[in-house]
Amino acid sequence: MSNDKVITPALTLRNVTKRFVGAAGRVTAVEDISLDVREGEFLVIVGPSGCGKSTLLSLLAGLEQTNEGSILLGEDPVRLPGRDRLVMFQQDALFPWLNVLENVLFGLRLKPGLTEEERLESARYYLSLVGLADKEKARPHELSGGMRQRVALARSLAPNPRVLLMDEPFSALDALTRDQLYGDIQQIFTKRKKTIILVTHNIREAVCLGDRVVLLSPHPGRVREVFEINLPRPRRINDPELASLAAKVTAALSSHINEGVNS
């Protein structure tokens, strides 16, 4: 690793460990994870189910606290949830008692220093960015799964967080809708230059979206390998070059899993 990190990373994880005491005894969900996330980077964390991906995001979001190690946002330790790190969950988590526009306004209303017109304008801007300008009066249940996830995206983007955390946001969607959203999210990423951390178990998705792909291995969740993805954007999920890179990551993953079985 070169040593040119003069600029502070957006997020710094130092030896982060999180354990749970559940019904089945003590589980180490993530162990000794150290990572720097650059400002404006699209980082994808990939790994099989149960390897601690959601736990890691909850830690970054401040919804859970680390047992060991530390997480810094810029220079400040992360302890509690905050507007600077918004989360997009696997299920859309839209509030069913609010319409689409009010959902997007929810986070904006908690942001001080804006007038109501500015909030409305911003909410409408992000709704049109995800192609749902005409749906602002609809209730979440009146939308398709893909549309709901787009509203959720607009809701997380609207307060302009420093970091956007995404927990398998596309896994409940059909392939066509997903492909479309891969396009949307890349477009927004290049346009808005956000720092994004996305978690997924889909390796192709990871390679399609990430500037860097971090491979986690399970039990306990540890960083196994980090891949730099230098393909030009926008990337298409069916691109052959992307497919061969994805195959490389898959091979790395299965070798780690076999290693785990044999040891």
């Binding site: 979001a61 401040g62 919804l63 949830p81 905050g82 507007r83 790190r85 918004l86 989360v87 969950f89 299920q91 988590a93 509030f95 069913p96 008692w97 609010l98 929810f106 986070g107 908690l110 942001k111 209730r139 979440p140 249940h141 009146e142 809701r155 307060p159």
Partner: protein
């Protein structure tokens, strides 16, 4: 051919009332004990005209509304507190669960000793009838709010009172409304019990009217008042709770 939905019930009701009328008029039963529908209707008309029925209904409805409002106003925050604080749930929550099973007539003797034959005694009984059902409903529905909503709210910067008023309560609202409806039903029953069993010096309500009917052996009055009591219960459901619940369900896409 398809008949409009109200046709069959109306026809059946007419048939039932005519049969009853005929049965009583032909002397099959003692008319003092079983008045005919026309008698009941006559009482109904007369007491409407002389104002007795309206004033009794007003007295009762006022007690019900005030008692229910107090019970709900106390029950909602107490239920929220039970949901929020473990030791309150283990004490007040358990107490509420127990007291909810206590028929609210049981509060009448206590209320009389504490407050005398006064308005406050009736109110106390109504409040006791309402509050525990509301406490439990609020506690349960707050506890079963999806954690996902809380997490989403918190990451957007909602906390404390904002989280309660903008996320937890709206999410729990359908459950809270069913609890209110149940509380309303309990309050209505307890109020009738109180008015029938106790002479309240401060106002002559529907229950007192029913009781007076018994004393005077006016079965038309007894059954007439019973009809009004049923009607009030139905109306509360038809014009208030049912539309509210329907709106809550359909606006959230919960309608089957």
């Amino acid at each position: 051919m398809k008949l409009p939905r109200p046709v069959i019930p109306t026809l059946l009701a007419i048939a039932f009332l005519s049969g009853w009328e005929w049965y009583v008029r032909t002397g099959h039963v003692n008319e003092v004990l079983v008045p005919s529908p026309s008698h009941i209707f006559k009482w109904f008309y007369e007491s409407l005209v002389n104002g007795e029925l309206l004033s009794a209904t007003w007295v009762t409805m006022r007690r019900l509304m005030i008692g229910f409002a107090i019970g709900a106003a106390l029950g909602v925050p107490l239920g929220a507190l039970c949901a929020r604080v473990r030791w309150i749930r283990d004490t007040l929550g358990v107490l509420a669960l127990g007291l909810q099973t206590l028929p609210s007539v049981c509060w009448v003797p206590l209320a009389l000793l504490w407050f005398g034959q006064e308005e406050s005694a009736v109110l106390f009984v109504v409040v006791m009838g309402t509050i525990w059902a509301v406490v439990i409903a609020v506690q349960e529905s707050v506890l079963s709010v999806q954690p996902l909503y809380l997490r989403a709210g918190m990451t957007m910067g909602s906390q404390g009172w904002h989280l309660w008023s903008r996320v937890i309560f709206p999410a729990a609202l359908p459950g809270i409304v069913s609890g209110m409806k149940q509380g309303w039903a309990f309050a209505w029953r307890s109020l009738m019990a109180a008015e029938i069993f106790v002479v309240i010096l401060t106002g002559f309500g529907l229950g007192s009217l029913l009781h007076a009917g018994r004393e005077l052996l006016r079965m038309d009055q007894v059954m007439g008042v019973m009809t009004v009591v049923v009607g009030v219960g139905l109306l509360a459901d038809i014009i208030f709770f049912a539309p509210l619940e329907r709106w809550l369900r359909s606006s959230r896409g919960l309608e089957r």
